[in-house]
């Protein structure tokens, strides 16, 4: 039950938080920092909607004790566009990550409950693998449940975003 102060960097901002030993990262993000974009789906690691980046790697915040990630860097769905803006200096602040825009256009969002997790996993894939194949996309999203879309539109959104992001950097092609 021990409570103590811990440091955590969330979406580029340093926080000092009073956290109990058993608090999960999901709980701290939602209930202390009021970042409600990250969803609480199953709370047992089965659905993927609580996915955030921990030092850039997609991780399930519901099965991660906050104290075990003391001092590390977290990006949530609220910080994805900000991260993207910082990633591409000179282009100015971004209102959305290209995958967010693509998800809306491709009909990849219905009830939207799975979307934050899908986008965090998809954006990490696009960062590491600029032109992912269909199998790579399916693999990257394999820990994410969607009860609405049937997945096709979500996979398509990642492909759409990949295509646009590729066009934006022709020198790398």
């Amino acid at each position: 039950m021990a409570e103590s102060v811990m440091r955590l960097r969330v979406n580029g901002r340093e926080h000092h938080l009073v956290v109990s030993d058993e608090a999960t990262l999901l709980e701290v993000l939602r209930e202390q920092l009021h970042l409600h974009g990250t969803k609480d789906g199953c709370a047992v690691g089965s659905c993927g909607t609580c996915t955030v980046w921990l030092d850039g790697v997609p991780r399930l915040s519901c099965v991660t004790l906050a104290k075990t990630v003391e001092g590390r860097d977290v990006v949530t769905i609220e910080g994805l566009a900000g991260w993207w803006g910082r990633e591409r200096p000179g282009e100015g602040a971004a209102a959305f990550h290209p995958l967010q825009t693509a998800a809306v256009e491709a009909g990849a969002v219905q009830c939207g409950f799975c979307t934050p997790g899908m986008l965090m996993a998809g954006a990490a894939l696009l960062r590491d693998t600029p032109a992912p194949g269909r199998e790579e996309i399916r693999e990257a999203l394999s820990g994410h449940l969607c009860r609405c879309t049937g997945y096709e539109q979500i996979i398509h959104a990642v492909e759409l975003a990949a295509g646009r992001m590729g066009e934006a950097t022709p020198d790398e092609a």
Binding site: M1, A2, S20, D21, E22, A23, T24, L26, E27, R30, E31, D40, A43, V44, G45, S46, G48, T51, V57, P58, R59, L60, C62, V63, T64, L65, K67, T68, A121, R138, E139, A140, S142, G143, H144
Partner: protein, 329 residues
């Protein structure tokens, strides 16, 4: 959101402190937490102090020892294992087994030690508390009945770690740290009782797995409901050495059908000392099927899991024989 019940967490930075903390009543090892934390969310484990191994840097390393053995620290993540060049090349069956666990997020968090020590699972037990309330407490919950096997006096929950059969087939050795550090073949850490399924005493923990310098060839196969994420309904690994025109020293091991991995010795005898014809492979699969007696505590039914065992062993043996005939390099 339901918070977890109050717990205390400690992260010692020296092995002696870890041993002392783990010797206390109610202490449990916290590795990646991808099994323990969901368990706590459903009020399954009874521990009240979590002793994290994350402060012991040596436990994260994967390195070759002086005698050529590969030493994998218990805190190496499954993702570390999947991408490690020495493992991909020298011990690909282990990389395949690690890749078969959960999702990318779970592999980034889950460790090899946690996979080997994974709590046993049962369809009647691994459920939310409200669901469990409808049933009398079972052996694991301090009761006196097993809902999967009412005639049994012990718990028959399923050992569900996917890397276990691969490690057995690769003849891995477990290194346990405690007051008296010891090493033993990995198979010997499993008791066969679903409630206390590990021969790891309070005050002890798994520190590393050591793999032979010249490993046998091996193959791993898994069967599950959804290919994307689920726990195994059955898994299997086989290994053997190809020498003087024949397979030698075969190991056939099936897991996720009981509280401990099962060596299929009858199949091993059948496979020793020859190349593997189709008939021989099918016969070995039949022997494996007859060697397992799963209870009705998985997600899929008993007969299906038994038939799956046959298929898994046949395919794993087939993988090895095909690879020998037409090496992919």
């Amino acid at each position: 959101m339901m918070p977890l019940r109050p717990l205390s967490l400690t992260t010692p930075s020296r092995p002696e402190e870890t041993v002392a903390a783990l010797a206390a009543e109610g202490a449990a090892v916290l590795a990646g937490g991808s099994d323990l934390i969901p368990g706590l969310a459903w009020e399954i484990p009874t521990c009240d102090t979590l002793v994290s191994l994350a402060g012991l840097d040596a436990l994260r390393r994967i390195e070759t020892e002086e005698d050529g053995r590969l030493r994998i620290g218990a805190m190496a993540t499954l993702a570390d294992i999947v991408r490690h060049p020495l493992i991909r090349v020298g011990y690909p069956a282990l990389a395949d087994a690690a890749q078969a666990v959960g999702s990318p997020e779970l592999r980034a968090q889950g460790t090899l030690g946690g996979n080997v020590c994974l709590g046993t699972r049962c369809r009647f037990r691994n459920q939310p508390p409200l669901w469990r309330e409808a049933l009398a407490p079972c052996w694991q919950s301090g009761g006196e009945v097993c809902h999967a096997a009412p005639a049994k006096e012990t718990c028959v929950a399923i050992l569900s770690g996917d890397t276990v059969p691969a490690l057995v087939a690769l003849r891995a050795e477990a290194e346990i740290w405690g007051r008296r550090p010891r090493r033993l073949p990995i198979e010997e850490i499993y008791t066969g009782d679903g409630t206390h399924h590990l021969h790891i005493a309070p005050g002890e923990f798994l520190a590393a797995l050591r793999l032979p310098a010249a490993p046998p060839r091996a193959a791993f196969r898994k069967w599950r409901t959804r290919a994307s994420i689920d726990f195994p309904e059955a898994n299997a690994a086989v290994s053997a050495v190809w020498r003087d025109g024949a397979w030698r020293e075969p190991v056939v091991v099936v897991s996720a059908v009981g509280p401990a991995p099962i060596r299929v010795q009858a199949a091993e005898s059948l496979l020793d000392g020859s190349a593997w014809s189709e008939e021989r492979i099918l016969a070995a699969g039949d022997l494996a099927r007859r060697a397992v007696h799963p209870y009705d505590n998985g997600q899929l039914n008993v007969a299906g899991r038994q038939i799956a065992v046959r298929g898994l062993v046949v395919r794993a043996l087939g993988d090895m024989e095909m690879e020998r005939r037409e090496p992919v390099l």
